[in-house]
Symmetry: C2
Subunit: 290 residues, 2 copies
């Protein structure tokens, strides 16, 4: 897994985040972006309803006290070289990608001036957030589409290059709600990466450098295929069933943390790294998450 040592901060949301109540996740995005002094850009490139969706988020961020909120709607690739848009990104402290179609994000933005600027500013401390399609596009290879509620097969998932804000992992969203473990396993098994993150609705992973913290109502499902003991991946045809043995799985709800470099949940006394085989769940020494 390639994880560069940047100052990156990402807020990656599994879709359907609370926009009416406490807004726990969007509040976290605003706080990290500078609170009431944040300068936020809402990127509506993924959605077919840029005005409605953009103004929704603008209202929410304003309700949370942010005065400087701008909508940037890049429709064509040439829009992504527009100087006013580039200036907005250059001054922003937080950039938020709405839901919609992740393939639209990459087809309009990848390898444009705006793309290069986002990566430069991310390394300098810009917070990038995204929900649903805006979450899917975060890795270097993203799930474009795929079947839900099926066992893993090769053909059920289609991958394309993503925006590479969080390289080295695969991300899926609306995870428990749409029964997507089969497609995430299929994606991770087929990519040269070890980690898959399935993010539930109204749940986010907040990335700070190489550390992840879970925020929100549901959980994240971490799939680690680094230690698998068997797969039939090289032998089966496209429509046949995938076998995978020895996948490591973690379920991490609100407040739990995970280290991308060591691929381990983080606990204050590192109990997670000890090897307590054959111990019953009920008999384990329990440790408070940090």
């Amino acid at each position: 897994m390639v994880v560069s040592d940047t100052n990156r901060q990402l807020v990656i949301i599994g879709g359907a985040e609370d926009k009416q109540g406490d807004c726990t996740i969007l509040r976290e995005f605003v706080r990290r972006s500078g609170g009431i002094n944040a300068r936020i850009v809402v990127m509506t490139v993924a959605t077919e309803l840029p005005r409605e969706v953009g103004e929704d988020y603008m209202r929410i961020f304003e309700r949370l006290g942010v005065e400087d909120v701008r909508i940037v709607d890049t429709v064509e690739r040439e829009d992504a070289n527009t100087s006013t848009y580039l200036e907005a990104i250059d001054k922003a402290t937080g950039v938020f990608f709405t839901g919609g179609n992740q393939a639209r994000i990459t087809s309009v933005l990848r390898e444009t001036e705006l793309d290069r600027l986002l990566h430069k500013r991310l390394a300098e401390g810009l917070v990038i957030g995204g929900t649903s399609a805006g979450a899917a596009m975060m890795p270097d290879m993203m799930i474009v589409e795929g079947d839900s509620e099926t066992n893993p097969r090769i053909e059920i998932v289609e991958m394309e290059p993503g925006m590479a804000f969080l390289p080295g992992v695969v991300i899926d969203q609306h995870f428990a709600q749409r029964g997507r473990i089969g497609r995430l396993l299929s994606a991770v098994a087929q990519q040269p990466v070890n980690l898959g993150f399935g993010i539930d609705e109204n749940t986010a992973i907040v990335v700070t450098n190489n550390q992840i913290e879970v925020v929100g109502e549901g959980a994240i499902t971490v799939l680690d295929v680094s230690g698998i003991t068997h797969t039939n991946l090289g032998q089966i045809l496209k429509d046949e069933d995938l076998a995978l043995c020895g996948v490591k799985l973690h379920i991490l709800p609100h407040g739990y943390r995970f280290d991308l470099a060591s691929r381990q949940p983080i606990f204050e006394n590192n109990v997670s790294t000890t090897n307590q085989t054959d111990a019953q769940a009920q008999d384990m020494p329990l440790v408070e998450s940090a």
Copy 2:
């Protein structure tokens, strides 16, 4: 895990098995029950439509060449002590439980003469099959009902004693199709067992003593919590989110085998028992399943 050393043969189906085409799974049940010389009893206790459902299975088994097929419909507990029913079970080579409501199976049959006779005959070589509710009731503790498409929480799954034909595990059905990994994780974490089996639709596990073989269209998802490194199970309230770290997961499609005693997939040269950490799926030495 308690696994007795019997001659048990079970065919445990995740629901919605093919009844029109090749009937791969029902064919396997018939073959193990003695083929065209089988004497099959169809137990309709779980369903509210015993006549329709019973006659459906009777027609299928007859189409596969079995001449001796009987329907036993126990409605009340006293029916389970009826001598004609007991004689039918005593002579049967295969007993098949239809779908419906698993709580009806246990409330009518548990600790009756018929229950005792089924266990005695199972140890003597009787094949017991079941689909959907007829699969859920197989363990000593069964999932009665639960929420699908959610992250694991304590309250989402309700458990009751099952028929204990396959003690020491938890079974869930319609698994991928209904997004049930959250509820199966919740069930396994709360029970004093280490193994959960999620069986997809039109897919079965065929149990012979302590060995399992997968048959059918989908896959089974094996969840092994014996080596978990952390859980918050003892600390959270009923409606809070469960954390589970270090669950081992196997996806096993048609033809794959699993050993209940060692909790390992079975390969001819036992590659599954070696510890090849940090190897990529794509770079693994691949082994044909037996």
